[in-house]
């Protein structure tokens, strides 16, 4: 009962946020000065042609009509045509989405793997270099500008010591053969995904370590120890198992951050993805494209927030009962 209420509440709330973001998205881009027609003008267009273009882009209608049309169309992923390319924004986003997801999962999995194992490692060896390293890495993750690390890595491994590709998701053209293509992709993933890992594994490691230490201080671990179980068994079987749920929650909670963090990474490594699309569209004042990209990013953040809330609710019963007033 409690959980269902909680779930419904979260779901309704996610929809509310979605609606607000959509409206905001619509309004923001209406404030923009000028209109599409003035951007694609040709000296030879006469006024009639301009009007024709205006109606092609639907910007001659009253703003209310435009808004309703906008809401309807976005729900069906019809984001209109890019001013710039005259292609459907959703088509363009669809081409980029797989790349963004690839980068996202690759970096996410490596970050989580490295971060969690280092955290466990540090918790197991209190007071050693390993622990200091993890604490330092956590601090580093918080205070160092990520794009700076990425730029340095790009300069070192892309330019100074050119062993890794400096841009793109694949060679042009990729080598023949499925296996070779897969490896080619991996090779192009190393810098962007690797740099994302370098930037953010610290906070994971630190969180895991802290949670582990908290768990190790709990009574039942003490009991297990007192029972004479060996250190390793206590650590990996009992402590680790008990901290897995909070870490699982953390995974979901970091999703939004990882989604938005990809914007800068894609720009630096010219990764053909949604984040770079947003930046390009904003720079070129291509509203439908910027709107579409922002909508997609916002949507993924809302969904991952929802997932995080659900995971949190499942893991932490207090939340269910408390009903969200955190």
């Amino acid at each position: 009962m409690g959980f269902r209420n909680y779930l419904l509440k979260r779901l309704g709330y996610a929809l509310l946020v979605l609606f607000i973001i959509l409206s905001l998205n619509f309004l923001l881009f209406r404030i923009m000065p000028g209109d599409a027609v003035s951007m694609i003008m040709d000296p030879k267009f006469d006024l009639a042609t301009k009007e024709e273009l205006r109606s092609q882009f639907g910007i001659d209608q009253p703003i209310g009509t435009q808004y309703i049309k906008y809401l309807k169309s976005l729900l069906s992923f019809d984001m209109g045509r890019s001013f710039n390319t005259r292609r459907l924004v959703w088509d363009e986003l669809k081409e980029r989405l797989p790349n963004t997801l690839t980068l996202f999962f690759a970096s996410f999995i490596t970050t989580a793997a490295v971060g969690i194992s280092l955290g466990v490692f540090a918790a197991a060896r209190r007071g050693t270099f390993a622990e200091n390293f993890v604490t330092g890495a956590g601090l580093f993750a918080y205070a160092v500008p990520g794009f700076f690390i990425q730029l340095m890595l790009l300069m070192i491994f892309g330019y100074y010591w050119p062993i890794l590709p400096i841009r793109g998701t694949m060679s042009a053209p990729p080598p023949p053969g499925a296996m070779a293509q897969f490896l080619d992709r991996l090779w192009h993933l190393i810098l962007p995904a690797g740099s994302l890992m370098v930037i953010s594994f610290g906070s994971w490691a630190l969180y895991t370590r802290n949670t582990m230490l908290e768990a190790l201080g709990q009574d039942y671990i003490m009991t297990a120890r007192a029972k004479g179980l060996d250190k390793k068994t206590v650590l990996y079987k009992h402590a680790l198992r008990s901290v897995l749920p909070p870490i699982l929650t953390l995974i979901f909670m970091s999703l939004p951050g990882a989604v938005t963090g990809a914007v800068i990474t894609e720009t630096i490594f010219s990764w053909f993805g949604v984040g770079k699309y947003l930046i390009d569209a904003v720079m070129q004042q291509d509203y439908p494209a910027a709107q579409g990209a922002f909508y997609l990013i916002a949507l993924s953040v809302i969904v991952s927030n929802l997932l995080a809330d659900l995971a949190y609710g499942l893991v932490d019963p207090r939340i269910r009962v408390g009903g969200g007033a955190k």
Partner: protein, 558 residues
């Protein structure tokens, strides 16, 4: 007079210095089997790719650092050609102070083109003081120019009664009051740093000679809105012009001084109007040339614009890998409009093989009816060009026969007493589409009528005056225009839509021909064209790959 002549001599010399050296080129090709075009948007990545040989052509160099880098590579060759670009500043001649010719001339004298080009572009632009770009065959080299000389500007103003007041600002002789502060609009520093900087420099120079001025960088769209209703004093922007100078009509004819019209300075000059009307619809080339000359002379006196510079086409080639590119004024050596490079470029090691040729932007839209950007045409122009019944000779700049063996320009009677242009194309009989279907006059008719009937924006102004197209036989097409103009020949040169593919297209805007399989030929797409290459693969965001068109009519004979 002698003084003017001295300056003219310099300009003429410059043209000769940069003129196209006669280059050997063939009218057949292509000489490579495959072109791979990696899409690299970032300047630095492009340079690295070029340096490492990941791409042997680096087109459209603009940034000074980029040019310096390519120039410095021992195995690279750089080629420069005049383009049709024009950066200018425009006066509002409708209100004071720029309604006075002397004030416009004075401002023209304080523009230090060399300094602007040197400091902002490291010398990589060409100073421009004419209203028709140098690359055009209609460019008139001996019109009076206004060399940089602030002292001269001051003298002109002093002589016209614009004396300097106590506060250092000049006094308008007509009102007796200090001149009002004029605003100079440019795009913002974020959008176009150099344009904004030019605004700052010129405003500083204007204030220095006593014309009160203020620089106002603003959002591009806001600026265009203001220009549409003539709410400005002066602004700076760039045009991308064309070979034919009929654009002068749109820019300066009094009839174009309407809201959102292109006569932004508001020129109303009876003499100029007469010349421009001749220029807009000349009956033949001779009239066109005379009208263009007259218009340029009058404009040089009127000074509604001050032309500043023109961006040349600068392209880099790895000379250790490729050879055979053809220099061509107006388009540059690596531009899609320059078919000669596309046909003649080959590997140093011999014909055949692959070359890698950089694309600087995503081509995105490969539908020839809707594609609007140069990057798209870099691909389409080689695969499915829209025109090409004639080509431009790279050395003389003249039109030469290509897919049409010959053509005639005549007249027909539209209605009693009213005449229109009639263009007759005599097509070659050995041309095939890239899928092997013969190319006939029916395709010319189809293309022109399709573009006209669908009101495709890009072709609207070209096709709106076409009344009908007749095909008396398979290789003759007659295009009837409702008006008489020599320029109509360019408007009749569209033939790139294969009827057998496009007749079934429902919504031309949504049609993505490169994504749909060809109805009969396996392994091909619906992007069927008349170009020397065939699109093989387009991996969005990564690369474009095109292979030799085996059905191309101008293949070199073995």
């Amino acid at each position: 007079m002698r003084r003017t002549l001295a300056i003219i001599a310099m300009v003429v010399m410059m043209v000769s210095m940069i003129g196209v050296a006669a280059m050997a080129y063939e009218k057949t090709g292509p000489r490579v089997d495959e072109i791979i075009m990696p899409i690299i948007k970032e300047q630095q990545a492009r340079l690295i790719a070029f340096e490492r040989g990941d791409s042997v052509v680096i087109p459209g160099l603009t940034a000074a650092a980029e040019i310096a880098k390519v120039k410095g590579l021992p195995n690279a060759a750089v080629n420069m050609n005049y383009g049709y670009h024009m950066f200018y500043m425009c006066f509002n001649m409708r209100k004071d102070p720029f309604n006075a010719q002397v004030v416009r001339q004075a401002v023209a004298h304080i523009v230090d083109r060399d300094n602007i080009i040197r400091t902002l572009f490291a010398g990589n632009m060409l100073p421009l003081s004419s209203f028709v770009p140098q690359a055009s065959p209609f460019y008139k080299s001996d019109v009076p120019v206004y060399p940089y000389n602030p002292t001269k500007a001051k003298q002109l103003l002093d002589a016209a009664g614009y004396v300097v007041g106590k506060d250092g600002k000049r006094i308008d002789p007509t009102t007796g009051k200090t001149m009002r502060e004029v605003k100079f609009y440019t795009p913002t520093y974020e959008v176009a740093a150099t344009s904004a900087e030019i605004g700052r420099i010129i405003v500083e120079a204007m204030n220095a000679i006593g014309i009160p001025a203020k620089h106002e960088p603003m959002d591009f769209n806001v600026m265009l809105d203001k220009l549409d209703v003539a709410d400005f004093d002066m602004f700076a922007l760039a045009w991308s012009l064309s070979r034919n100078p009929d654009f002068l009509y749109d820019f300066f004819h009094s009839s174009q001084d309407v809201e959102a019209g292109y006569n932004r300075p508001g020129t109303h000059d009876a003499q100029l109007d007469k010349a421009l009307e001749k220029l807009y619809t000349p009956v033949d080339l001779k009239t066109a040339k005379a009208a263009a000359d007259a218009s340029q002379l009058i404009l040089a006196r009127l000074m509604p614009y001050v032309p500043l510079y023109s961006r040349p086409y600068i392209d880099g080639f790895r000379k250790d890998v490729v050879k055979g590119w053809v220099s061509m004024n107006g388009f540059g050596a690596a531009n899609y409009n320059n078919i000669w490079t596309t046909l003649n470029i080959e590997r140093v090691s011999g014909t055949g093989g692959t070359i890698r040729w950089m694309l600087t932007e995503e081509p995105k839209n490969l539908n020839p009816v809707t594609a609007s950007q140069a990057y798209e045409w870099e691909v389409l122009g080689r695969v499915a060009p829209m025109g090409g019944l004639r080509q431009i000779d790279p050395v003389t700049g003249e039109d030469i026969p290509w897919m049409a063996k010959s053509w005639e320009i005549g007249q027909w009677q539209v209605s009693p007493g009213k005449f229109g242009t009639l263009i007759t194309w005599n097509l070659r009989d050995d041309i095939k589409w890239s899928d092997g279907v013969p190319f006939t006059s029916a395709d010319v008719k189809f293309t022109l009528e399709y573009l006209r009937d669908n009101k495709a924006p890009r072709y609207l102004s070209a096709t709106q005056n076409i009344v009908k197209v007749e095909t008396p036989d398979k290789y003759t097409a007659k295009v009837y225009f409702s008006n008489t103009s020599y320029w109509n020949i360019d408007k009749a040169d569209y033939c790139g839509l294969p009827q057998h593919i496009w007749k079934d297209v429902k919504d031309y805007k949504a049609f993505e021909p490169w994504k749909e399989a060809h109805p009969t030929v396996a392994g091909m797409t619906k992007l069927v064209g008349l170009g020397p290459f065939v699109l093989k693969e387009y991996k969005v965001g990564e690369y474009v790959r095109m292979i030799k068109n085996v059905n191309y009519f101008a293949l070199p004979t073995k």
